[in-house]
Every structure is written in C-alpha cells, then in structure tokens.
C-alpha cells in the first residue's frame, strides 16, 4: 500500500494505463503542462495540449475512440461539459446504438466540480445527473484515493464513454492505495463503507465523508447507520442499495448536487418501487439547493449537506418510528 492523494492516485492510474496500452492517449487544455511527467514519459503524440475549445476536444476524442485509440480528455471544470455535450451525448452516447453496433467509444472524460475552492457556479456545478440521464454513457464519482485509482483504470479499459467526476474538495485528501498495476475497481459496484442496522445513508463524492461522520455521531446516541458509497452513478448498483434498505427499513440519500431529478430522486424511486414493503419511514433526500453555487465561502458551504443535517434527519426518522410504535 502507498499513501497517496487523490490527485496522485489519478496520475498513477493514467501512468499505468498509458504504459500498459499504447492506444491510451491524453488530450486537454494544458494536460501536457499539468501532467508534464506523462509528456516526458509518453511523448507529445500521446499527451496533447489542445486549444481551449471543449466542443472539438470532445469531438476529437469521440472520433479517435471510434477509430481505434483510447483517449482520456481533461475538460478541467464540470460546467465546461456543456460545450462538450454534443460530442459526448449525441455522438458517443448514441452513435453505437443508431449504427446498429458499428462503433465503440472507449473514452474517458475527466472533470472537476464541487464546493471548496470558492470558484462559483461556472466552475462548480455538480451536473453529473445530466449525464446519468443520457443513454450510452457511464458516470463515475469516487470518494477515496484507492477508488479513484481503481475506477479510473477500469474506465480507461471500458469500451464505453465514461464521465469521470472529481470532487474538488477531495483532490488533496490522502489515503491508502494498492500499488499493484492490476488494482481495478469495477464500474457499477457500490462500496459498503460502514455496516449498520437502523438506517441506510447513501452518498457519493465528498458527502460520503459527511455520512461517515454522521454515522459516528449517531452511534454515540445508540443509532446504528449503514453507509454506502455509490462510486458509480451509472451503472447504478441497485442490489447493494436495496439489500441495505431491506435490512434497515430507512433510507437517507445525501449529495451536493441539487435534488430535482437528481440521483437522490432516482434512489428514492428505486426504494419505493422495489423495496416499498421494507420501508418503515419516508425516504429522505438531503441535497444541494436548486440554485447556482455561490463563491463566498459561507454561502458555498451553506449549500452542501453537512453531518449535522444528516444526524438531525435520522433522529427525526427514528423519533417518528418511536411515536408510531408507542
């Protein structure tokens, strides 16, 4: 095991995959500067700075992926994805299907989002659910250094377009990372981060830690919370979530992205449609507001669910349980 930051884990995954497969290449605004050691190791043909033109960077990656290369593009900040959406959503997501399976798009799109850097809504917008809604794409948003490495390596090896979101606030978090070049975390598999009996907390990205902190505080009050880190948003690991909901009977979903038509809405529908008989309380969604992210630290942080919010929601759920039981 090595002790790495998430930034280092991403770089290690890129290095290992570029070394393993000569078809893997990187493009993006400044990648040859920000990842200069990849440039030194693999050369300017495979590590390419691009113009600041996300639409054609993404389109080029899609065209290259369909033609035998395995591009990884770095679009920097998630809101810039809107410039790249035609290539990703209309081309990469649809042209395999529309062509009757003639094309494959082994392509990874990296981007960062989330509160913590006070950059405001045009650099901080958790819009991952937009891509979950688009057919043909896969969407990943890990929370630990080991998962960043293992999921990025799996994403590079996948033959489908993968959106790989990095929560800005986690970038310099450290953790243990397996050193093996074969450390893979499969897409579509959630991680049970803490076992519990009374309530299931489901999250991804930075709010996984919020849930773990809340679970710790709840345990001091005698409440046992289970915590699931989704890691992949699409494919969604329904089985892990449903198994836990069937065990605890209570579901709280926590994410920084806004709530309307978001992952929490999807998970609430999942629980209602496939585990309704097991639910002992209404499903709770703790999400960011339907508002652009502010830059001011105080306002930025006010938009993110925190451990106190989770604890009080769970306490309310369990209080209702006690009342109805008595």
């Amino acid at each position: 095991m090595a002790f790495l930051t998430i930034e280092q884990a991403i770089n290690q995954a890129l290095y290992e995959e570029m070394q393993r497969d000569p078809r893997v290449m990187m493009m993006g605004e400044g990648v040859a500067k920000s990842r200069a050691w990849l440039l030194r190791e693999f050369g300017a043909t495979r590590v390419r700075n691009t113009p600041l033109a996300e639409a054609v960077v993404a389109g080029t990656a899609v065209g290259a992926a369909a033609s035998g290369l395995r591009p990884v593009i770095d679009l920097l900040f998630a809101p810039f994805l809107t410039y790249a959406m035609d290539a990703l959503v209309n081309s990469a997501g649809k042209l395999r299907y529309l062509s009757g399976g003639q094309h494959e798009f082994p392509l990874v799109t990296l981007c960062m989002t989330g509160s913590g850097w006070c950059v405001g809504a045009q650099h901080n917008h958790n819009l991952e659910a937009m891509f979950v809604h688009a057919p043909g794409l896969k969407v990943v948003m890990p929370s630990t250094p080991a998962d960043f490495k293992g999921l990025l390596k799996s994403a590079v090896r996948d033959n489908n377009p993968v959106l790989f979101f990095t929560d800005l606030a986690l970038l310099f978090e450290q953790g243990e990372v397996p050193e093996s070049a074969d450390h893979l975390v499969p897409l579509g598999l959630a991680d049970l981060r803490r076992e519990g009996e009374d309530v299931t907390l489901v999250s991804y990205g930075k709010t996984v830690r919020v849930c773990l902190e809340a679970a710790e505080q709840l345990s001091e009050c005698g409440i046992s919370a289970e915590v699931i880190d989704l890691r992949s948003l699409k494919p969604l690991d329904e089985a892990t979530v449903l198994k836990s909901v069937r065990k605890t009977g209570r579901l709280v979903i926590v994410h920084e992205a806004s709530g309307l038509c978001g992952m929490a809405a999807e998970l609430a529908a999942l629980a209602a449609s496939k585990a309704f008989d097991a639910l002992r309380a209404p499903v709770v969604r703790l999400t960011g507001p339907d508002a652009p992210a502010a830059s001011s630290w105080v306002l930025e942080q006010a938009a993110v669910p925190n451990a106190g919010d989770v604890v009080s929601s769970v306490e309310t759920l369990l209080a209702n349980r006690s009342q109805s039981a008595s």
């Binding site: 054609v56 389109g59 080029t60 990656a61 065209g63 290259a64 035998g68 062509s99 009757g100 489908n160």
Partner: protein
C-alpha cells in the same frame, strides 16, 4: 453496374442517375407514409466527384443528407432503402432510419444528423489514422453544408486540423439552404472557402454541379493532402433541388432561383456533355435509365419485404 459502361465519366453519370432515382423513389414512398428523408437531389456531382477521388483506406463522414455519399461509395440501394424504412436488412438494422446511416464496411463512419457534428468528429478519426490505427496513408473526407459552416464548431475544427496537421478534406456542399432558410439570410460573407483560408488552409471553390470539375479539383486536393498530411478545404457551389425534409412543398423557395439551378442540373450537364463528346448515345442512355429503374424497383421490393426489428432487441447496442 451497366455492362455498357467503359468510360469512368460514364460510370459517374450512371452513379448520379442511380442516386437520383433512389431518392425520387423515396420521395414517392414518403408521400405514401414512409418516414421522411433529407434528399441530396441536385447535389449528386459533389458526392460522385469527391468520393471518386478517394481510396478504400480513406474514411468518409457524411451527414443527414447522406444518400449520394453512400451510393457513390458503393452502398447498395436495397439495404439503404430497408434502413430508411426501419427494417432489419438496413445498414444499421433499422435503428438509424434515414438520418444517421453509417456503413463502416465502406469506410462511411460516425454519421450524425446534428448539423456540424461531423466537423467535431473528423479530427479524431484523422488523428487515429496518423497515430497508426487503420490503413497507412488514409485521409478523412468530411461532408457538411453551408448550414454547418455557420456553426462555431467549423472554426474549432479547422483550427485544430491545421495546428495538428491532420489529413482532412473538408467538403462544404454549399447548397444555398439551411433547412427552411436561404443562406443569404444567415451569412454576412458570401464565401465560405475564405473562412478556411483565414485559418491557414488551402481552399478552393468550384461548381459543385459539374462532376468533371469537382473530380479534377478533388483528385488534386487529395493528392496534396496525402503528400504533406495537411488539411484542405473545398467549397462546392450547388443547390438543394428538393425540400429540406420530404414531403416538402417548397412554398418558401424562390421559383426563379430554383429554375436557374434546375437548368444547371448535374446529371443533365454530364449527360449532354458526354453525348456531345461522343461518349454516350441515345440508345446507351436509354439502356442505363432502364437498368437504373430496375435496380430501384428491386431495392424497393427488397426493402418492403424486409422484416421489422424484433422489439425484444430494443436494448441491444446501447453499450459495448
């Protein structure tokens, strides 16, 4: 192909006649309720001239107005027609329908109906070629119209192709129409090819209804791209003789302008020229016409007889 054809220009005429007959048959089917199409009637010389200058190692990116490009590349009308009708024997198993027909077996890849999408994808296809994927020395020909030229992606694509020296032949078929809007309503500048020159590409403009002229400039341009690997640009002046999407009564079209272009029809132009030069006589022409008609009848029958896709396969091919 007709056994009477020896001369390559006669083959070109025959291909244009086949494209025309195919699309006119589709228009009839559409009046009877078949899904609509965006035809390339009037633009056949662009496809025949440019694609005749390409080799099998080259890749072609077309768009929603794709029939001429596909047939010029050798696509079979029965399978095309089956695709338009949504049947299993179509090139894409009926999933594409008319608007995004790819035929990778012919090197026609990544067809998108999003206007300008081909311009975003072409650099990647060319990049893969120069990075050792596919057959050595291949280039990419990307077809788009004056409508796509008004998308910002044109400039991103030209700039990147020039900066990275990607072997791309940009082919702008300026057919004067952007869906239901005449291009003079949308463009402050008359000459699209000059925009490419502004990005440092060599660019030419020719009569897109003259298959000889298109073929000549295309051969020179393709040879130049193969020689130095740099992108180049052709603007082909042509005219969309039918509506944007069949059926379309063209009520918005200036009849005088349409008639001027009908009098400069690419097929009539080539036919009369070949006859005047002694390469074609009336009986050979009649034989070509009759054989084209038989091929289209056979295509029609094949497509109508082709099975519908099995709804159980609805979710096939979403993911690899």
């Amino acid at each position: 192909m007709n056994s009477l054809i020896g001369h390559p220009r006669l083959r070109g005429l025959d291909t244009m006649m086949l494209i025309r007959a195919y699309e006119e048959r589709l228009a009839i089917l559409q009046q009877q309720g078949a899904p609509g199409t965006c035809t390339s009637v009037g633009q056949e010389a662009c496809a025949v001239g440019v694609i005749g200058a390409l080799e099998s190692r080259d890749r072609i990116i077309t768009n929603h107005r794709s029939a001429a490009h596909l047939i010029a590349r050798g696509a079979e009308p029965p399978r095309l027609m089956a695709e338009v009708l949504g049947r299993v024997d179509g090139y894409c198993g009926g999933r594409s329908g008319t608007l995004h027909i790819s035929a990778s077996e012919l090197g026609v890849v990544l067809t998108s109906t999003i206007v300008g999408a081909g311009l975003s994808l072409a650099p990647g296809v060319a990049l893969a070629q120069i990075m050792g994927q596919g057959e050595k020395g291949g280039i990419v020909a990307v077809f788009f119209g004056d409508g796509a030229a008004c998308e910002g992606i044109l400039h991103e694509s030209l700039n990147l192709a020039r900066q990275w020296e990607l072997p791309i032949l940009f082919v702008c078929e300026n057919n004067q129409w952007q869906a239901y809007v005449h291009r003079l309503e949308t463009m402050a500048d008359e000459s699209i090819f000059n925009w490419a020159r502004g990005h440092g590409l060599e660019a030419e403009r020719v009569d897109g209804n003259d298959a000889d002229a298109v073929g000549e400039v295309a051969r020179q341009t393709v040879a130049a791209i193969r020689a130095d690997g740099r992108p180049r640009f052709l603007e082909l002046l042509t005219y969309r003789q039918r509506g944007h999407f069949e059926p379309d009564d063209q009520a918005y079209v200036d009849k005088a302008e349409l008639n001027r272009w009908l009098n400069h029809d690419p097929i009539a132009l080539m036919r009369d020229r070949l006859m005047a030069e002694g390469h074609l006589d009336a009986s050979t022409l009649a034989s070509l016409e009759s054989e084209v008609g038989e091929r289209i009848d056979a295509a029609d029958a094949f497509a109508q007889a082709s099975a519908w896709p099995d709804p159980k396969q609805l979710l096939d091919f979403v993911y690899a």
